[in-house]
Amino acid sequence: MNRRAACLVAGLLSLGLPTVANSIDISSLFSSIKQAITPVDQKEEEQIGADAAATLLGASKPITNAAVQEYVNKVGMWVALQSDRPDLSWHFAVVDSDDIDAFAAPGGYVFLTRGLLRHMHNEAELAGVLGHEITHVVLKHHLKELQRAARMNLVGTAAQVGMQEKGYNSNLDQQLMDKVSNATRNLYSKGLDKDDEFDADRYGVVLAARAGYDPYGLLAVLQTLQGVDPSSGKMQLLLATHPTPADRIAALSAAMEAGHMDIYGNQAEGQERFVEIVKLLPPEPVATTKAAPVSATKQ
């Protein structure tokens, strides 16, 4: 029996719930609470990840070009094989948006937008970005946040149960699921803790280097993003959920210098096959309004 779960159940029951204690299904409540606060196994993580991935793909669906998707899956799997969780069920996809962003969900889901792919120059840059997202999965950044949110919501759910009539408990599991789903939408529109992002940058670079790529790819992408006019709106979500490119560049370049990453600077860049893949993307939409001059851009 999990002690924290037992304490939480005991605590809830002592907080004004004794009269309904007999009318709700204690084992169901206990099971739900336990599920929310104990470390999940890989199967559960994959289920939570599939729900989170479904929400993300509900916002932007995968593009249909199989050659592009298979390419990104091969590169992504090769980078993921260098991580501490090579055996996860890794799924990568390019999603149908011209905006610039990338996402990870528990269990091995990694998505990046068509817009981000267009702003890269070679496979090493792609490997760096995928390495960043793979790190979020490996270190369970989103999983921990979703669990934390679920736990907080559960207290509210349990209190509601206490105020309801007999029979309400049959909806508890469904309520919990809905709340976890809301937590997913909330987390991905607000973002992770900034330290998680800085950690993902550093570890992502290491994964790309271990995979035999030029480790400066991620830094190069961040420099490219630093040059994108924020008023274009292309990075609204990215900037709302991540530290600024300037802060990430500063932290990452300091770490790379201290870690002597320059000795791997001559590793593979994979420009030729990357450029062939990008050619398969549909043409970029035509801008109808002029972007503000870049010289006025400060990040």
Binding site: A53, A54, T55, L57, G58, A59, P62, N73, K74, M77, W78, L81, Q82, P86, V95, D96, D99, Y109, R118, H119, M120, H121, E123, A124, S181, N186, Y203, V206, R210, A211, G212, Y216, L219, A220, Q223, Q226, G227, G233, Q236, T241, S253, A255, M256, A258, G259, M261, D262, Y264, G265, Q267, E269, G270, Q271, R273, V278, K279, P285, V286, T289, T297
Partner: protein, 177 residues
Amino acid sequence: MKRSLFIAAMLLLALGVVQADSGTTAQTVVAGNMNDGPYSDANVVASVPVNTNLTIIERQGGWYHVRLASGQLGWVRMTNLRLNSAGSGSSGSSTPAKSSTSSFFSLFESGRSGASGTTATTGVRGLNTGDIANAKPNLQAVADLAQWAAKPDAAREFAKQLPAKAVKVDSLPKVKP
């Protein structure tokens, strides 16, 4: 030693390094040296003050090959530069030529598909915080991902073709910038 390093660097260049899109410009954010090769012990060919405009030719590892306004060529550390907006990266030179009808079609794609519905550009498929906050789960799209998944052996073979070889690399320290 320097000469052999330089020759090695030139050979690598000949084998094909990153070709940045022609016309990507940048400014120096700190003063620094411009070298005759992409490594710190190469010969210094110029001292470049802060806020110097230059054009990027290519990148190799942590160095950019650049051209000054004077036409002088050399290599500077990538973190000495801040890049200007040059539209997209590789697509800048590889986007298929627009057909005469492309702007016609774009008339029918009014605005962004995103929930916020801003119309800064035409035909742009957006993805903003509102789109995420209002997303309806698409479980079928998740199930469909399996069709593109790569088996580990296929990924290994693909890396070998590049070639990208797995190497041992230590974790990076957390350093205050």
